[in-house]
Symmetry: C2
Subunit: 432 residues, 2 copies
Amino acid sequence: MVPQWLIEKKRDGNVLSDDEIRTFIAGYTDGSIPDYQMSAMAMAIFFQGMTPQEIAVLTDAMMRSGDLVTFENWPRPTADKHSTGGIGDKLSLMIAPLAAAAGLAVPMISGRGLGITGGTLDKLETIPGYDTRLSIDEFKRVIDKTGCSIIGQTGSLAPADKKLYALRDVTGTVPSIPLITASIMSKKLAEGADTLIFDVKCGRAAFMKTESDAVALAGSLINVGRALGRKTGAIITNMDQPLGRTVGNAVEVIEAIDTLKGAGPVDTRLLTIELTALMTVLGGIYPAMDIARERLTELLDNGAALNCFKQMVEEQRGDCAVIDDYQKFAQPGATLEIKADAAGFVQDVDAEAIGRVVLQLGGGRQKTDDVIDPAAGVDSLVQQGDVVEPGGILMRLHAKSDALVAAASARAAILINETPPPERQLIIRKMY
Amino acid sequence: MVPQWLIEKKRDGNVLSDDEIRTFIAGYTDGSIPDYQMSAMAMAIFFQGMTPQEIAVLTDAMMRSGDLVTFENWPRPTADKHSTGGIGDKLSLMIAPLAAAAGLAVPMISGRGLGITGGTLDKLETIPGYDTRLSIDEFKRVIDKTGCSIIGQTGSLAPADKKLYALRDVTGTVPSIPLITASIMSKKLAEGADTLIFDVKCGRAAFMKTESDAVALAGSLINVGRALGRKTGAIITNMDQPLGRTVGNAVEVIEAIDTLKGAGPVDTRLLTIELTALMTVLGGIYPAMDIARERLTELLDNGAALNCFKQMVEEQRGDCAVIDDYQKFAQPGATLEIKADAAGFVQDVDAEAIGRVVLQLGGGRQKTDDVIDPAAGVDSLVQQGDVVEPGGILMRLHAKSDALVAAASARAAILINETPPPERQLIIRKMY
């Protein structure tokens, strides 16, 4: 099988056979197919697409390019959640322990932030001592003991994806649903969870800008998961506005802990419960979504979820003292309040603009080797529909030394109007 | 300018600016843009195409990636011919000296054969001693003295094309008219000729299978040539059947010499005159095609063209004795006559099949490092419309030791029928 024949076959709109896809990915993984053939293939896939069967085989081949975590004869059902990434999205921090409190085992392997969206690992590492670099054996030990563990990607899981992801980033082949699906699913399937649910973000600060794109991606993720024997579902959620009232790293962990204490912003709490409900229903813990929502609300309010979080942090060598004393997080060198000039309703909070503000403050990464300031970020952020008075705080900026640099763009991200805005539609579509 | 942004721009169907194209090609030439970005860009160009302006700039950038041959204040107008390649296409061997005899200077840089089509260099090198590896200074000296020179590609002309050509070959990005145009034209323009004419082959044994593809390529070549200040024209010729009655290396040179002696097959002579006529008219030697055809017929018949060929061979250290004694060419170890079983009209000679026969006999190259047998090939080949008797020769096969291996496929390439075939349409379209 000559690699360029397969590239030509896909280029001309034909369907690749299972064997052809597996041979191509095996060759790319072992280096016998070079980057320049893979990038041409990726561009051909961008233009010609792939059938559900091709996507499933591509995913399976990429998943099998490395080690597989397995939970055979595990005492609890395993489940994980994946988000396509959004501004202020700290849901993993609550969903993993909440699902664990409900009786699931949650093996969650997360990434770091790049561009305007933050990464779960960057957030967890603001907890002094928290170790995201566990071996697979330690990972399983923590899950066995506490019900959940959140760690970073190891090179041994889906190495083909690691290579292809870096290549796509520099060859204009990122926005392809078959390639996105295979990238997400190969890693998630290698984690071994039986149930996988997806929070597909949709809107101006999301990778998927339109509902139809988001539905297409969600459908593709669900198809592949089911084709490969997993229980899958997706919820498409709005990412025009930031999630919650904090965007950054330590500030988001604090908001997550608040939510695990039964408080937290309404939107954050609502999506935490909704997504975890879907996990627990598909995972066989509860028989229906209504019951799941009720039980999970109790587990948030009675401290059971917080307790799971605390145990996970302890097992991963993090300092649990932060949970009761937020001053133990790294503190910003400079804080600046952005205030309203006049009274009105918050009409719009531009999530993408807020993401860029956080980048400017030092809370994000533009290149993979940039160093993140854990204390940098935004908190006390108003939300659409909030009423503000003249001089009222729209948000607080935290930075190492100079928060003033982002003041103008922070102010411009908030639109205030005399009339109330339409109600915010947090959940766009449920697909399960 | 980040390379992937330019890939994305082209991927999304936008027009690249002159500056963007030049930056990309400069980066690819100096290695700062790696193969994997170039192959993704090439695939994006395959799908999205390029405007005539983009193709002209791409060509110019690739041409300027290396040295440029110049003929400033040269005593004669300069002109060259390029063929897209066909079976039995030995026209360069006659056109260069015929055009020189008519008063043009012909700087012709040719290639080697790969796949079923032969290369002009491989043919010329069957003349003992003929040196295709001249320096640019020697090349110009030979042209100054004899009116023409045919040499091989030097690494210093259009190195960007050399790199891109090899990359396209293994990434499924060959059949793209913008990329084919830039590849052909960047090399041809770097040779410095004022007039460029193209023999665009069309048919089952040509790269362009359909007339509309051939017209599109010819139009693109003409556009770019004109945009970059050259006089250009094209003739689309039929490549369903082989050209002439020989296919191979030494056998083709012998047929070329026959033609330069005023003999040779009718089709070979006709296209030699037609293409050279276009060169001389565009080059300002003759005022009109009719007059050019008349004068060139004289120059073929009176030995003037043969004399130019002889001088060129001498200046390039070849043994001119071959011109008068064909036995001085390398001789085949084995020869086999393929004969007709029954009487009839030759209905069809499958050029592609004949090309494969010559490959099988050792007269071609499948990989760039294959060694060619100069004596291997086919001669005495019947042509469409010929009348054959039972036992009449359809072709003779020449090989090193065993010509029998190709006998069955050789016989299968000839279709004989009781009724005469339609007249062969040698020239499909003239574009000038």
